[in-house]
């Protein structure tokens, strides 16, 4: 602590003399930060760096005397950085460059460099005894006219002084408050995440597998095997009956039904062999899965899943094919 107190006054003039340049150098480190693995740690390292474009904007716009301080500065710097990153994306889009991590970085770096030059130039010109404005201000001061007297209604300087007084000295209160607030959020989230939560409701599904086919499925002269999948994401073992039928005015069985048991979180692969068709007509087949002891909450009947497909023989469609 004492060491820090000794070092700080020595470092402060160097910082104040050329803070835009140091800030710009800090921003270049974003390129190095990108090599860290993506995580909240990297975000914590990157966050202060990402504030640089906004801070430089304030440095370029305002003279040191009228620049907002403390939390107002921090608020503006953060929001301007966010806005500038959006502007950077817009600029990249307009010039036809893809928005990537690298292009965004280079764009923001270019903007930051310009802003840093303006801010640094302003800083150098505003040093006591340097620059046109400084001379003019000194003249004003010499005449004994204070800013407050110049316009009795103007209170910005006073407010800035007010804000800066609030933040330059014990501004760490706000930093501590921000850290405490963020920690409380993180703590709440940590606890909530580790509390027992209701088990998600399970489900079962039945779906065709294999390559997707548009339109009717052609059935070869030796028949065709159609594969499907049964996924059972339930905590309990269930007994199912699997059946296949020809759909029509009267549905007739296509294959002998199968009964099997599926354990929790199991996936079953099934296949339906469709025999060669006698003609080129289109037929609809249905594969149905029924859970023996499971009731559909919507219909209050035995729960059933089904998928269907239209199949057609390779022979030419004849006039006898009717709906």
């Amino acid at each position: 602590m004492t060491k820090a107190r000794r070092v700080l006054p020595q470092v402060k003039p160097f910082w104040l003399l050329a803070w835009p340049v140091w800030a710009l150098l800090l921003f270049t480190n974003l390129a190095i930060v990108r090599f860290l693995p993506g995580s909240y740690t990297r975000a914590a390292v990157a966050a202060p760096i990402l504030m640089v474009p906004g801070s430089l904007t304030l440095g370029a716009l305002f003279s040191q005397r009228h620049r907002p301080h403390g939390l107002v500065f921090a608020g503006y710097a953060a929001l301007l950085s966010v806005v500038l990153s959006a502007f950077a994306s817009l600029a990249l889009y307009v010039i036809g460059v893809l928005i990537t991590a690298a292009s965004t970085f280079w764009c923001l770096l270019a903007v930051s460099a310009v802003l840093a030059i303006v801010a640094e130039a302003r800083l150098l010109l505003e040093r006591p005894g340097k620059g046109r404005r400084a001379i003019r201000r000194l003249e004003v001061r010499d005449s004994g006219q204070s800013d407050a007297n110049a316009d009795t209604e103007d209170a910005d300087d006073a407010e800035d002084a007010d804000t800066s007084a609030a933040t330059r000295g014990p501004g760490f209160y706000s930093v501590i408050a921000a850290v405490a607030g963020a920690s409380l959020l993180a703590g709440g989230l940590f606890v909530y995440d580790r509390l027992p939560h209701p088990t998600p409701v399970g489900y079962t599904w039945l779906a065709w597998a294999g390559p997707p086919v548009q339109g009717d499925i052609p059935i070869g002269s030796a028949g065709t095997k159609l594969s499907f999948q049964i996924v059972h994401h339930q905590p309990q073992t269930t007994t199912f009956q699997l059946s296949a039928a020809w759909l029509g005015a009267s549905s007739l069985p296509l294959a002998k039904p199968l009964t099997f048991t599926v354990g929790p979180n199991q996936i079953f692969h099934g296949a339906l062999f469709v025999p060669p068709l006698p003609n080129g007509c289109t037929y609809r087949i249905v594969v149905s899965l029924t859970a023996a002891r499971q009731v559909d909450p919507l219909t209050q009947k035995t729960q059933t899943w089904s998928i269907n497909a239209d199949v057609r023989g390779k022979a030419r469609s004849s006039k006898t094919c009717k709906g």
């Binding site: 995580s39 990157a46 990402l50 893809l98 709440g188 039945l206 919507l298 998928i307």
Partner: protein, 690 residues
């Protein structure tokens, strides 16, 4: 520690910071030493009690959400939640209102509140989007990250693709930090939320209020219906409202500054931030231009603004307003030409419905009709308007008193205060629109803006009431008055939040059909994943609103936007055996819609939000009392010629559409028979293996 002249006028002497005694002799020094020790001890105790309250408050909110997870609506979940929020807010407000609290501490408390008040939304969905608009914004950001381009089409909410501010900023943060979209979005939202609170305090200070009043104004603003949940969601308004507030801070500062004393810088800052608002959110951009115009108008009225350099200040105000309006107009015209057609129905239809209700030809919207909120939340929501009216009237009377006794002479501050008071008063007529189905959403959204002005109006009144209660010489009366003020704060906090998003949005819970925030289940996510894995992304799909959210966002599919010109609900509404409109089927084919998804619950359940597709659904596609219009009409897809069912889970069925229906060869109604036995159907074979 310099106070502004205006602050000096408004703040009584007793509101100054306690000074440290300047002792001369040893005994006085010793006394001073002891007197410093005692306050130190009490400060530590106060700090410890405050910390305990804050931690307990967040813990209670956690407990509330844990209870809510397993019940559709539980009174105990609401009770725990509000106990937690009150533990967080009441001590904090008490400390801010306390005169002895230093200004540094107040700023710290406001900063802290900005973070902690994000807890309800953070805990609501820490891992992924769940609100309707969040899916669309997540998708917009994903598109930027994957394509490297802005303005990619968004089928969930088409207009947001023209306002890429939030998405571009999130994408930049993802690029810089390597976080997921949702983590980066959460960090940005915390930043926007915390800076919104600070921004309101900064705006109040820029308007000339002292630190104590400005901090209380920030707390009052946080009572608006959008603060805890709506403006904390991952949506463009959450970013834009913060930008709007900080733009107004810069605007007010520019008006109040003198040339050569930061005026140009504040003006440029106003323009930069207003451009940021324009590219982020349409409604915020429009509102910003309107507020700036209101301020500029007030600056032009001699009765209000006449003073040294007021003409120049009015010119600057109009100049900045015109610049913002031109930028917004240019953006609407060249980049987002559909903005006005997107926004106008809300106001127009809302107004027309209100007129119909007034004439007796139409019914007014039933407030809290299907709400899961407990009765006391609903009553508190009504009470908020009454409390706000009371404080607004008191604020107006205070302003009148200041004007009469010369404490608020004509000048820029009077004009600014007047403009923000008018903005605040807009809240009261807007509450009428809550009675109209179309206008309710717009009215609610306007409150986040009108409360900026309302809090500026109510803040001085609230401080006056606190001081008045404190001046009471009778102890019990003083305690009673303060308790009354805290009770009003409790009612305002509960009612303000209840008047915003409904409970299903605010609290976690089991599946609730037809609720955007509780419709996503592992089953739906698995269905969407299966679909993308099998058919790829970018397919055009017909689905209901709740299924479409997940398929359209995480599934990266294109969801049909149902409308009167493209009535996809007619597909679902058609009775079994009846003919579906061939124009619709042709449109579906022409537009490349190859898949249809059916949620079986549509046939039996009434959606919590009252709509199956969009808020513009016709009456025929809306629930008929407690019955679904789709009852008994969904099974037709299993037998229809042009639809083949390729997937079924417990609730969802996926159909591949083989359109056009006219060219579709019907499947045979008689199965193929075996060559040997003409009466027996052809036999195949089933096998199944784990």
């Amino acid at each position: 520690m310099t106070a502004t002249p205006y602050e000096r006028q408004l703040v009584s002497n007793s509101d100054r910071e306690p000074s440290v005694p300047n002792s001369r002799d040893t005994s006085r020094a010793r006394d001073a030493h002891h007197s410093r020790l005692a306050p130190n001890m009490s400060i530590y105790l106060l700090a410890a009690a405050f910390a305990v309250c804050e931690v307990a408050g967040v813990a209670a909110v956690v407990r509330a959400y844990q209870i809510a997870q397993s019940t559709v609506s539980s009174t105990s979940a609401f009770a725990w939640f509000w106990t937690g929020m009150l533990l967080v807010e009441l001590p904090l407000t008490g400390l801010i209102a306390r005169r002895a609290t230093s200004r540094n501490m107040r700023i710290a408390l406001i900063t802290f509140y900005g973070f902690v008040s994000y807890a309800p939304k953070l805990l609501r969905n820490p891992a992924s989007p769940i609100y309707h608009d969040e899916y669309a914004h997540w998708l917009a950001t994903y598109e930027i990250l994957t394509t490297g381009k802005l303005f990619q089409p968004n089928t969930l909410i088409p207009i947001i693709s023209r306002y890429p501010g939030l998405h571009a900023a999130t994408a930049a943060l993802v690029h810089a930090t390597g976080l997921t979209i949702w983590s980066a979005a959460t960090l940005l939202l915390i930043l926007f939320h915390a800076t919104l609170v600070l921004g309101i305090a900064a705006l109040a200070q820029a308007l000339g209020f002292n630190n104590r009043m400005a901090s209380l104004i920030a707390i009052l603003y946080a009572l608006n219906s959008s603060f805890l949940y709506f403006d904390t969601q991952y949506a463009y308004e959450s970013m834009a409202i913060t930008l709007l507030v900080w733009t107004l801070v810069a605007y007010v500062r520019a008006i109040r500054s003198q040339p050569g004393q930061g005026q140009a810088a504040w003006s440029v800052l106003t323009v930069v931030l207003s451009v940021g608002t324009v590219i982020t959110h349409h409604l915020s951009a429009l509102t910003l231009a309107l507020i700036m115009a209101l301020v500029a108008l007030a600056m032009s009225l001699p009765w209000l603004a006449r003073g040294a350099g007021w003409g120049r200040a009015a010119g600057l105000a109009w100049g900045l307003t015109l610049t913002t309006t031109l930028i917004a107009g240019a953006w609407f015209h060249f980049v987002a030409p559909t903005t006005l057609s997107y926004l106008s129905p809300y106001l127009g239809e809302g107004f027309s419905e209100l007129m119909q209700a007034a004439e007796g030809s139409g019914g007014a919207r039933q407030l809290f009709g299907a709400s899961l909120s407990p009765w006391w939340e609903q009553k508190a929501a009504y009470a908020v308007t009454v409390l706000a009216l009371f404080l607004a009237v008191a604020g107006l009377l205070l302003i009148r008193a200041w004007i009469r006794d010369g404490r608020l002479p004509p000048g820029r501050r009077r004009a600014l205060l007047f403009a923000f008071a008018v903005l605040g008063l807009v809240y009261f007529p807007s509450t009428v629109f809550i009675l109209s189905a179309s206008g309710a959403e717009g009215a609610r959204r306007s409150w986040a803006f009108s409360w900026i002005g309302l809090s500026m109006l109510a803040g001085p009144a609230a401080v006056w009431l606190i001081d008045w209660a404190g001046r009471s010489t009778h102890r019990y009366r003083r305690v009673g008055l303060r308790a009354g003020l805290f009770a009003a704060l409790v009612i305002a906090l509960i009612g303000g939040t209840a008047a915003g998003l409904e409970a299903a949005y605010r609290f976690p819970g089991p599946f609730l059909y037809g609720s955007d925030a509780r419709s996503v289940t592992p089953e739906l996510l698995a269905t969407s994943q299966w679909f993308s894995a099998r058919f790829g992304t970018g397919n055009s799909i017909v689905a209901d609103r709740y299924t479409g959210l997940v398929f359209g966002s995480f599934g990266l599919q294109k969801i049909a936007a149902s409308s009167a010109g493209f009535p996809v609900y007619d597909l679902y509404l058609a009775k079994t055996g009846s003919t579906i409109d061939s124009v619709l089927l042709d449109d579906l084919k022409l537009s490349g819609y190859d898949y249809l998804i059916v949620d079986a619950r549509m046939a039996v359940d009434v959606p919590e939000l009252g709509v199956y597709f969009t808020p513009n659904d016709p009456a025929s596609a809306r629930p008929q009392g407690n019955q679904s219009p789709f009852y008994g009409r969904l099974s037709k897809f299993n037998t229809i010629d042009w639809a083949v069912k390729v997937f079924q889970s417990d609730n969802y069925s996926v159909y591949r559409l083989n359109l056009p229906a006219s060219s579709q060869v019907s499947y045979q109604q008689q199965p193929p028979t075996s060559p040997g036995d003409g009466r027996k159907a052809l036999q195949g074979n089933l096998t199944v293996t784990p």
